[in-house]
């Protein structure tokens, strides 16, 4: 449709006549100020003329007999649009299904993960508790150390008592020496007695018959002295043997008193080193266990956050559904509107019907807009993932 302004033939004579009058006036009567006045008058006349005649619009309608290709083209457009919109709607549906499946699988996976994390944590707790309750290596080493000290104490006491015995034996040996010394005195007495007896028997022999009895007594006394000497020797040899035995005993007890303590010392050193090592290792283990517990806790919280984040499926489903509804409506609207346009384009219609059609198309569009507006106002869509907590344990 095109509106062409009609040529302004009726204006031409008026403009020409005014211009001619002005020219004549200029030629006949020629003061200097007349020319601009004349030009102003001419222009004013032309302007007034221009305003008085409105532009006439002529609608050129395409001839009805050439409408078949246009109709066909419009038909194609409509079909293509409707089909595309249908495709889009179906694809959205498919996407929704895929999303649902994927999210449910993800949810299952994360539930499993969270369950296993919990199990791991409880196992770790058992291990830590077990370590605290049970007999630790530290305890064992401490007891061994106590035992060793007790053992060393016993050895030292044994040494002390052995020394005490040794000192007693030394005392006894001194007594024995004293006995030995006394025995020597006894020996001297016996020898002197023997000498006396010898002298007595000599004197008895000199006395003759009168000294016979005395000689017998002197002989007996000599015998006694000799016996006493024998006894003395026997006692001396016994005492000597007793001394030897005591010396042996002294050696034995002395050996008992002399125990090597180096073994105990090195063992003690080993136990101390072990204790230090175990203490350090215990501290390290408990530190690592604490860290693992902390990591597990973090893992649990991460998993719960992730599961909560999976709620995006709901939001996305709502959005996709809404988009699908829009598409379906758009499909209908497109069909109706293109049909109307087709009517307009292809049939010979008068101005009234044309306006009616245009009105219908506009009304249809505004209805569609109103629907969209109402939908936007409807049940609010969730916009954020942060809302709502999920308690896992």
């Amino acid at each position: 449709m095109s509106a062409i302004p009609a040529p302004s033939f009726p204006r031409l004579p008026l403009g020409l006549s005014v211009s001619a009058v002005a020219l004549l006036l200029c030629l006949v009567w020629q003061p200097a100020w007349l020319a601009p006045l004349a030009i102003a008058a001419v222009s004013a006349a032309w302007f007034v003329e221009q305003r008085r005649t409105p532009a006439r619009v002529v609608t050129v309608l395409p001839p009805a007999q050439d409408s078949a290709p246009v109709r066909e083209a419009l038909e194609d457009v409509r079909e293509a649009l409707v089909e595309e919109l249908g495709h889009a709607s179906r694809e959205l549906h498919q996407a929704l299904d895929l999303l649902r499946d994927a999210v449910s699988e993800l949810g299952g996976g994360f539930d499993g993960l969270s369950h296993k994390t919990g199990q791991q944590q409880s196992l770790l707790k058992q291990i830590i508790d077990g370590q605290k309750d049970g007999v630790s290596v530290q305890d064992f080493a401490a007891r061994t150390s106590d035992l060793l000290e007790h053992f060393v104490g016993l050895i030292v006491q044994l040494s002390r008592d052995s020394l005490r015995i040794v000192y007693r034996i030394d005392g006894m040996a001194k007594e024995m020496d004293a006995v030995f010394g006394l025995l020597k005195n006894v020996n001297t007495i016996a020898e002197e007695t023997n000498l006396l007896a010898l002298n007595a028997s000599i004197e008895a022999a000199r006395a003759g018959e009168a000294g016979r009895g005395f000689s017998v007594v002197a002989g007996e006394i000599r015998n006694l002295a000799s016996n006493s000497n024998q006894f003395n020797e026997q006692i001396g040899s016994h005492v000597e043997r007793a001394r030897t035995a005591m010396e042996q005993l002294r050696g034995l007890v002395g050996a008992m008193a002399s125990q090597d303590l180096n073994m105990a010392l090195s063992t003690k050193g080993g136990i101390d080193a072990m204790l230090a090592h175990v203490t350090e290792s215990d501290a390290r283990t408990s530190k690592v266990a604490d860290q693992v517990v902390e990591i597990n806790r973090g893992l649990g919280s991460d998993v719960s956050t992730t599961i909560r984040s999976l709620q995006f499926e709901d939001i996305l489903s709502q959005l996709i559904n809404q988009t699908r509804t829009r598409l379906v409506e758009l499909q209908e609207t497109t069909a109706e509107c293109t049909r109307d346009i087709e009517e307009l384009a292809c049939t010979d219609v008068e101005a009234g019907a044309l306006a009616e059609h245009a009105q219908r198309v506009r009304a249809r569009l505004s209805m569609q807009r109103e629907k969209a507006r109402l939908r936007a106002r409807g049940p609010a869509l969730q916009n954020s993932m942060d809302a709502g907590e999920i308690e896992l344990f």
């Binding site: 000192y167 002399s258 050193g269």
Partner: protein
């Protein structure tokens, strides 16, 4: 001589300087030096030269402690090397004597 004795009569303090070995071989000298007669008021056992010691040495020290009055005794063990110190500690002597 494996055992040197010095008696400070003014302080009544008996100092025993041990030789290289403090073991059963010195038991008689040890007895004669400090276990026989009247106990001194205080004792100093110098282990500076000792490099080997067995349980009889500890036994002698215990006997000295008993002789000197047990809990009331005043016996200081000085100049002990780290090894001897360890032995004395294992035997609990750090609680019975003053270790320097």
């Amino acid at each position: 001589m494996s055992l040197t004795i010095h008696h400070d009569t003014e302080q009544d303090c008996l100092t025993l300087q041990l030789g290289e070995r403090f073991d059963f071989t010195v038991h008689r000298d040890f007895h004669d030096a400090c276990l026989g007669g009247r106990p001194a008021r205080s004792y100093v056992i110098d282990l500076g030269e000792v490099n080997s010691m067995d349980s009889s040495a500890l036994g002698m020290l215990l006997l000295l402690r008993e002789h000197a009055g047990g809990e009331r005794s005043e016996i200081r063990i000085v100049n002990a090397g780290s090894e001897l110190r360890g032995t004395l500690r294992v035997a609990g002597f750090d609680k019975l004597f003053v270790l320097h």
